[in-house]
Symmetry: C2
Subunit: 236 residues, 2 copies
């Protein structure tokens, strides 16, 4: 269930997409949006702030509201956690589920999920393909006290869709860490790369809106099939 | 010159740092902050929104305002463009300036800066070191119509400091693209890596607050000396 300002934000995003608006294109003014959507100024302001934080628009005091858009399709967004579906929606993606099991949290997993070593977690291992080529190996750890049930059907599709719509969880924010290394023996087999070739290793921690960590993931990308982008909404 | 809400945001950030507050620690309520800073509710709200967009706090309706913080020092922030000074401030960083010259924009540079091929740009090439080890090679292209003057002294220090405080430019937002490849001959010499070793290649486009692109940079990182993080303020 979306709140009113979220609905309006989505409607403005659709307007930008449907009209193929480009970076720098001017949107209707705050006043015009108030008239169009028949809501208060503060609701429109909240919708615009949400769009600004998502890097979809920028506001220039005294001048108006403008479109922000990325020129390059096919890049995976690391700055706004929305899953592959949105970034690579136009590409043919498939998933092979390698493991779905309840485990005891290792010290590393426990530290990242802020739970105790030995606490129950769901361990999910998936291999993702783009046009049939291996894109990444993903190992996810879900705090079982937050996500009490999972199965192969669920993890073959979008886990986040299940969390939102099945478990009615309110997802919050995420931290991403990454570094570059070399492909090891196990990765080499799954990603069809030589040992020693470049590897992008990414770690994600996802938090509920309450600030509680619920998912710690490690993903190794095939450098030949992946490229990434990040939008920053301000400079400091 | 900071606006009042920016000053308050900075003051709250200092409070978090000086008291070494951790993720999940509760901050004073909106009402308490109004009393403390003697400003309107809407000024405090703007300060909190700024901090939220920077990933420094998160707000939970009905519960309060909480600290967001990263556990891992020494990571370069790609989600919020603030330069090495803030991320690696505790490390010993040095810069070798390899080129500062006015050039005609190539087709690639022109496309990214939204100018015409052949327009004048400042081309800056720098090699950055961390504790004396090569960290990255950076090639920057500045639209000369926005940045009419640069020299070796300026680019040896913080260029963004000069843009803000010397040229009084109002910086806006940035787009970052990256992919992983292999070190080439030229990079190998500067970064002291073997040809074929992993390379992180990053492209940045920086925009003024008006939405005009002013800087297009390409940076190749030494994978042995660098690690990165990105904070996402929401999930979609």
């Amino acid at each position: 269930m979306l709140l009113k300002y979220q609905e309006i934000a989505e409607s403005i995003e659709n307007h930008i997409r449907d009209n193929a608006l480009k970076q720098g294109d001017k949107l209707p003014s705050l006043e015009q949006l108030v008239t169009e959507y028949k809501v208060s100024k503060s609701t429109i302001r909240k919708a615009l702030e949400l769009l600004e934080s998502k890097g979809a628009v920028y506001q220039l005091r005294g001048s108006g509201i403008f479109v922000r858009s990325l020129k390059r399709p096919g890049y995976i967004d690391l700055g706004f956690s929305r899953g592959f579906k949105k970034d690579l929606g136009e590409f043919e993606m498939t998933t092979e589920v390698l493991a779905v099991e309840v485990r005891a949290a290792s010290a590393e997993v426990a530290a990242n999920l802020n739970i105790e070593t030995g606490d129950a977690i769901y361990y999910i291992k998936r291999l993702r393909f783009i046009y049939g080529k291996p894109l990444c190996i993903e190992e996810s750890h879900y705090d079982k006290s937050v996500v009490p049930y999972m199965n192969k059907e669920i993890v073959k599709d979008s886990i986040f869709y299940y969390l939102r719509n099945g478990l009615k969880l309110s997802l919050g924010f995420s931290d991403t860490y990454f570094n570059i290394g070399k492909i090891n023996e196990a990765e080499s087999k799954l990603l069809k790369l030589e040992v020693g070739e470049p590897a992008l290793r990414l770690e994600n921690i996802f938090f509920l809106a309450t600030g509680q960590a619920f998912n710690y993931s490690k993903t190794t990308y095939n450098y030949e099939e992946s490229q990434f982008f990040i939008q920053a909404t301000s400079t400091d």
